[in-house]
């Protein structure tokens, strides 16, 4: 019933996205490879932090599907060690955990998106495509966390334009949290899909770089740090 949304899947004929799979469960890697192997090119697999760094450095894929919980320090550690590669190689976190500290942790580490393992194959392919093009991918839950993190009303006036989400960005996030696809958001707000993606990327940038005060306080309130 969702077939009307497959138009953003890679167009036939274009080179397939090169992907590395990082997960410590072989069964899961096999499953993901079976689901997405048609649409993307899986160029490597890794099952812990050290092998992930080695494989990513060697193969230079476009997108890395990164598990959050890994032996040897977790996905955040992989991001830290691959920091020099980050603009060229995009990381998409794929985890069974939707705990706030995991999500915010890898996003701040430099991942371009976060999806949970309950995602369907089609949606995962679309997410890989979007991340590969440099856009951010937010699951509704991640959008909820971000809204929560930025929701504080008594904001310190420093860096205001950098720290605060704009009204539009907030609107876009709220629609994502409500379960809308990017295309539906675009139709609803009467903007292009590209603009939606720009807003989402802006949110991601703010999340990674700037909102020190709010995020720290938010995390402290929840006893995450």
């Amino acid at each position: 019933m969702n077939t009307s949304e497959t138009s953003s899947a890679p167009v036939e004929g274009t080179p397939r996205t090169r992907v590395v799979l990082v997960d410590d469960h072989r069964m899961f890697r096999t499953g993901v490879r079976a689901e997405i192997g048609e649409a993307v090119e899986v160029v490597g697999e890794a099952d812990d932090v050290a092998s992930a760094v080695a494989v990513v450095t060697e193969t230079r894929p476009e997108v890395v599907l990164l598990d959050v919980h890994l032996p040897g320090g977790g996905g955040v550690e992989v991001l830290r060690r691959c920091a020099s590669l980050i603009p060229a190689v995009r990381f998409l976190a794929l985890s069974v955990s939707d705990a706030a500290e995991d999500v915010i942790g890898v996003i701040r580490g430099g991942a371009r998106g976060y999806v949970t393992k309950s995602i369907t194959g089609d949606e995962l392919i679309r997410a890989i495509g979007r991340v590969g093009e440099g856009d951010a991918v937010f699951s509704p839950r991640l959008a909820g966390f971000v809204l929560d993190a930025f929701a504080a009303t008594d904001v310190p006036p420093i860096d205001e334009d950098l720290d605060r989400l704009t009204q539009r960005e907030r609107e876009v996030l709220r629609l994502i949290a409500r379960g809308y696809a990017y295309k539906e958001i675009a139709r609803r707000l009467v903007i292009s899909v590209k603009t939606v993606e720009t807003h989402v990327s802006a949110v991601l940038r703010k999340l990674q770089l700037s909102n020190r005060h709010e995020l720290t306080r938010w995390a402290t309130d929840r006893r995450l740090v």
Binding site: N2, A143, G144, A177, G179, Y180
Partner: protein, 419 residues
């Protein structure tokens, strides 16, 4: 023959046995010795306090006794704090007794003993005594807990008190050595004592250090083992049982899915949710609870996102009930498609969106006798001062939007509109 009844128990006899000898945790001025003894013996505290002070004049017997009790009698834990008026009175009483003690020693001690030389220790004792009391109070368990608590202010106060105590003790010692001779003698004595202290530290230091380290390591190991045991118990109680149930019901995929979903939700809540969150008392928790019920009852999967939180009042209960109805409708008519629920609580309004990807329907075409949407969702929201909006287009799914002003914010708004 007449039956002989045992004599009735004496009514004025206390039913409970005498409490064990423990130092009081509350109601205390210095160590809680007098209060503890008073409770043990069933006498008034004042009597004991006066007795201790009186005994102090027999070569300091009272002080020695008090110190002995303080050292050897364990402290009781967790007695309720007394009302503050009572505490104030106690404090005054204790202070008065201490002043009496000091005044009396000054009169008797100074008046009679200066020429014999035994008066020399009285002044140092008067200075060092409060210092010792301060330090020992600090080491008492209840105090120590406060000392190491995360509250910055009480920790600073603790260190300050320890510093004052130590200063008083050292000052007392200096007074003592000064009384024995000139300032040169005093300095020599202090130097000697210092050297001795350093020597002792060098000899016993490593041993002490090792002891502390081992103690810390042992404590960590014990905590780790406890946590492990708790995780194991939880996994055994819930996850393994569910897996067993699933193995037994392989023929019923619906039931298997229901069990798996319920277990996943439960495990997630246990693993990821902060401890402080009280179930069903807040908006977010209540909404999650309702979603879980609908998931279980209808065998659907609901993705729920909550932003912000607030306590639940009557109007929010109505909102949650309406949201539940919307979820049930989605579960019934969306044909198993994904259902997303988004709840947001900001300062003055609470909104809930329930969205499904089902076939959708025309809200105006719903027959008048169908009460689900009309009464349980729209009507309920209207009656409680909220608003509901249903968007549905064939092929696009359905979204129910529920909005309610928060009572605390609503009050001022109502006031404004009325005037």
């Amino acid at each position: 023959m007449t039956a002989v009844y045992p004599p009735p128990a004496a009514p004025n006899r206390p039913v409970h046995p005498t409490p064990k000898l423990r130092r009081a945790a509350s109601h205390r001025f210095a160590g809680g010795v007098a209060r503890g003894l008073a409770e043990h013996l069933g006498v008034e505290v004042v009597v004991l306090r006066v007795a201790f002070v009186a005994l102090a004049f027999f070569a300091g017997l009272g002080v020695v006794l008090y110190a002995a009790f303080w050292i050897f009698v364990p402290q009781s834990v967790g007695t309720a704090a007394p009302p503050s008026r009572e505490r104030g009175r106690e404090r005054h009483q204790a202070l008065a007794l201490i002043i009496v003690l000091i005044a009396a020693t000054m009169l008797t001690g100074l008046g009679t003993d200066t020429d014999t030389g035994s008066g020399d220790w009285l002044w140092p004792l008067l200075v060092a005594g409060p210092g010792v009391i301060l330090l020992w109070r600090q080491a008492d368990e209840s105090q120590r807990q406060r000392w190491f608590s995360l509250d910055g202010r009480s920790r600073v106060a603790g260190w300050l008190r320890a510093l004052i105590g130590a200063t008083l003790v050292v000052a007392g010692l200096i007074f003592f050595s000064l009384g024995r001779g000139g300032i040169g003698d005093a300095l020599a004595a202090m130097r000697g004592a210092g050297l001795l202290l350093v020597g002792l530290l060098v000899i016993f230091g490593p041993y002490l250090l090792r002891q502390t380290r081992e103690l810390g390591a042992e404590r960590r190991a014990r905590i780790r083992a406890q946590e492990r045991a708790e995780v194991a118990a939880h996994v055994h109680d819930s996850v393994l049982h569910t897996l067993t149930l699933i193995q037994r019901q392989v023929e019923d995929p619906r039931e298997v899915a229901r069990l798996a979903r319920a277990q996943e939700r439960e495990l997630r809540a246990w693993l990821y949710r902060p401890d402080g969150e009280e179930p069903d008392r807040t908006f977010a928790a209540a909404l999650r609870g309702v979603a879980a019920e609908v998931e279980d009852a209808h065998g659907v999967s609901i993705e729920i996102v909550c932003v912000g939180d607030c306590p639940v009042d009557d109007r929010l209960s109505a909102l949650i009930a309406a949201a539940r109805e919307a979820m049930v409708n989605a579960a019934k008519y969306a044909g198993g498609a994904a259902i997303s629920v988004f709840g947001e609580a900001d300062e003055d309004t609470v909104t809930v969106f329930v969205r499904d990807r089902g076939p959708g329907f025309d809200p105006d075409a719903v027959p008048a006798d169908r009460l689900g949407v009309r009464e349980s969702v729209l009507g309920r929201m209207r009656r409680n001062g909220g608003a509901a909006n249903i968007r549905s287009e064939p092929g696009e799914g359905t979204e129910v939007e529920l909005e309610m002003r928060r009572a605390d914010a609503g009050r001022s708004a109502v006031g404004r509109t009325n005037t």
